[in-house]
């Protein structure tokens, strides 16, 4: 009987390691393991992974994603730290909306990084949608204003605005997002209708700080988790959802135009526990 008890402790450590390696974070893992130990106390036949899956699904289904439905002119702003996949995600989303037969205008709001506008224009060509731009170094709030104005005048249902990558610790850059918001509101009072915070699945616990600051200062409405085609599990979205209750709209699973899929809680949890 003692031997059996010892095996259980090793298995518990193995499960805890699995959850930690998925980037769930110490707090979330402690809560999950506490729940598991509680269930196992009963002594009856329990599949530990089934318990964990059940608990994780509960947490991830709290805020189901709102579908992207055209209604008047909808303005979508993509934000996030450097290199996470904002521009690529925008390109994929533009292609998806265009393929649905809905008009899209893409706005080159990253006027800072080398060849950012060229990169976005290539994506515009790939998606078959127009891209509005000014020169490098221009004011992103100004091009956002122009984009919203043009779309509203033409009745274009979707305006997708790319922004420069920025670390949430840089106040002047976070203030720039606020300026973009106010600029959009001058054209369309409810804009931006969506603010997508793009998160890289390889990100560790810093993802929580990113989400908190962007949520507080940029009015994030949805999360997008990219690079899930890699080996990283993206578990940091669990504590993010627990604290901020944001829906996950999409998941990026590659670098191609079709590699953006709706977030599916069960598939995601299976990936975490794999």
């Amino acid at each position: 009987l003692l031997g059996l008890r010892r095996l259980d402790e090793d298995q518990m450590e193995e499960l805890e390691d699995l959850l930690l390696q998925a980037d769930l974070g110490v707090r979330a893992v402690d809560q999950l393991m506490a729940r598991l130990r509680f269930e196992l106390r009963g002594g009856s036949e329990i599949d530990p992974k089934a318990v964990l899956k059940d608990e994780l699904l509960k947490q991830l289904r709290q805020r189901p994603a709102r579908p992207f439905v055209a209604s008047g002119t909808q303005v979508v702003l993509l934000v996030g730290v450097n290199g996470v996949g904002k521009t690529t995600t925008l390109g994929k989303l533009a292609a998806h909306l265009k393929a649905r037969g809905e008009g899209v205008l893409v706005v080159a709001g990253d006027t800072f990084r080398a060849a950012a506008i060229d990169q976005l224009e290539r994506w515009g060509e790939r998606a078959g949608v127009p891209v509005i731009r000014n020169q490098m170094g221009g004011d992103p709030a100004a091009i956002a204003f122009d984009g919203a104005t043009s779309a509203q005048a033409k009745g274009t249902p979707w305006v997708l605005i790319d922004t420069a990558g920025r670390l949430h610790t840089k106040d002047h850059l976070m203030k720039e997002l606020d300026k973009i918001h106010r600029s959009l509101q001058k054209v369309i009072p409810d804009a931006p209708h969506r603010v997508l915070l793009v998160l890289d699945a390889t990100t560790g616990q810093n993802g929580l700080q990113q989400a908190e600051v962007f949520a507080r200062t940029a009015g994030v409405t949805d999360l997008v988790l990219t690079k899930l085609d890699g080996s990283a599990k993206g578990g940091v979205v669990v504590p993010i959802l627990d604290r901020l209750k944001l829906p996950i709209a999409f998941v990026g699973v590659g670098e191609g135009v079709d590699d953006l899929i709706p977030f599916e809680a069960e598939a995601f949890v299976d990936g975490l526990l794999d």
Partner: protein, 293 residues
């Protein structure tokens, strides 16, 4: 902070003259928590704590006025030691016969292209004449990006109509030998270590150019995956150094420790901003302080 947490844990150990296996557990738990919250890999933290435990056991730590601080010093010292100790070596091994070839590799979006420009500026200050080579033919406007970065750095970049990354790198190397540039910096496309075809491409670029340095460029905010990706790149290519980027944020940077432990390769540089001058030698003591919080 960790010092405060350890002081709390150590209050219960007051009056004991020596650290024993039993009374050390609570203290080690606090350190483990700090490491995991800092994104240090689970196995790396485990191995490290075992090492710290051995150093601390039997130590006279408890005699001092501030056992928590003394314990932290042991932890800090060990962390610094593992991440590069005094780091006296020159960050780049220059080839005896020019040009020196530096190859940048890593996952998508880590900061390779920007780092190529930063390294070029760094080398120019040392009196070298670098040539930047755009070998990312996949990402839209990646080649343009490298040319813009080169222009900003005030260094030449290789131009060609050749479309194959391996051929581009080989041609650039030949050009450098002909024209007398003494350092060739190869910017490769971001890729997943899971992508066998693209990992093979790196092997072919390596075979064609015999790099003197292969730098794994890693994002400082990487979590547990750092060990997996760094190990895969190292096993496939034999990386010779690591550049940690985006350290100007508030990420604790445990990935630095994980990558060092997993690959055994030196942490050479940090990128601490988007500008080309935001580039510095890696300092293990600064990183250790950040990881411990």
């Amino acid at each position: 902070s960790l010092t405060q947490k350890l002081s709390q844990a150590m209050k219960t150990l007051r009056g004991q003259s020596k650290l024993t296996e039993a009374n050390l557990e609570a203290v080690l738990r606090e350190v483990r928590m700090a490491l995991l919250e800092a994104d240090v890999h689970v196995s790396v933290a485990r191995t490290f704590l075992q090492r710290v435990k051995e150093k601390a056991l039997g130590a006279e730590v408890m005699q001092g006025l501030n056992p928590a601080q003394a314990f932290i010093d042991i932890v800090h010292r060990e962390l610094v030691e593992i991440m590069g100790g005094q780091a006296p070596e020159h960050p780049i091994t220059f080839a005896s016969k020019p040009p020196t070839v530096v190859m940048m590799v890593g996952l998508q979006g880590a900061g390779k292209t920007t780092t190529c420009g930063k390294l070029a500026v760094f080398l120019k200050k040392l009196g070298r004449s670098p040539l930047l080579v755009p070998a990312d033919v996949y990402r839209p406007a990646a080649i343009e990006q490298l040319h813009v970065v080169a222009r900003e750095a005030g260094v030449p970049s290789f131009r060609t109509d050749v479309k194959d990354p391996v051929a581009i790198c080989a041609a650039a190397l030949a050009e450098a030998k002909l024209k007398g540039w003494d350092t060739v910096i190869l910017d490769t496309a971001g890729r997943l270590h899971l992508d066998e075809g693209l990992m093979e491409e790196l092997v072919r670029i390596k075979a064609a150019t015999s790099p003197d340095e292969i730098f794994f460029v890693a994002d400082a905010m990487t979590g547990q995956d750092a060990v997996r990706s760094a190990t895969a790149f190292h096993e496939k290519l034999g990386i010779t150094g690591v550049v940690l980027t985006k350290t100007d944020g508030d990420t604790r940077g445990g990935a630095a420790f994980s990558i060092k432990q997993a690959t055994g390769q030196p942490l050479k540089f940090v990128g601490e901003g988007e500008k080309l001058e935001d580039f510095q030698r890696f300092h293990p003591d600064r990183m250790a302080q950040r990881i411990l919080g």
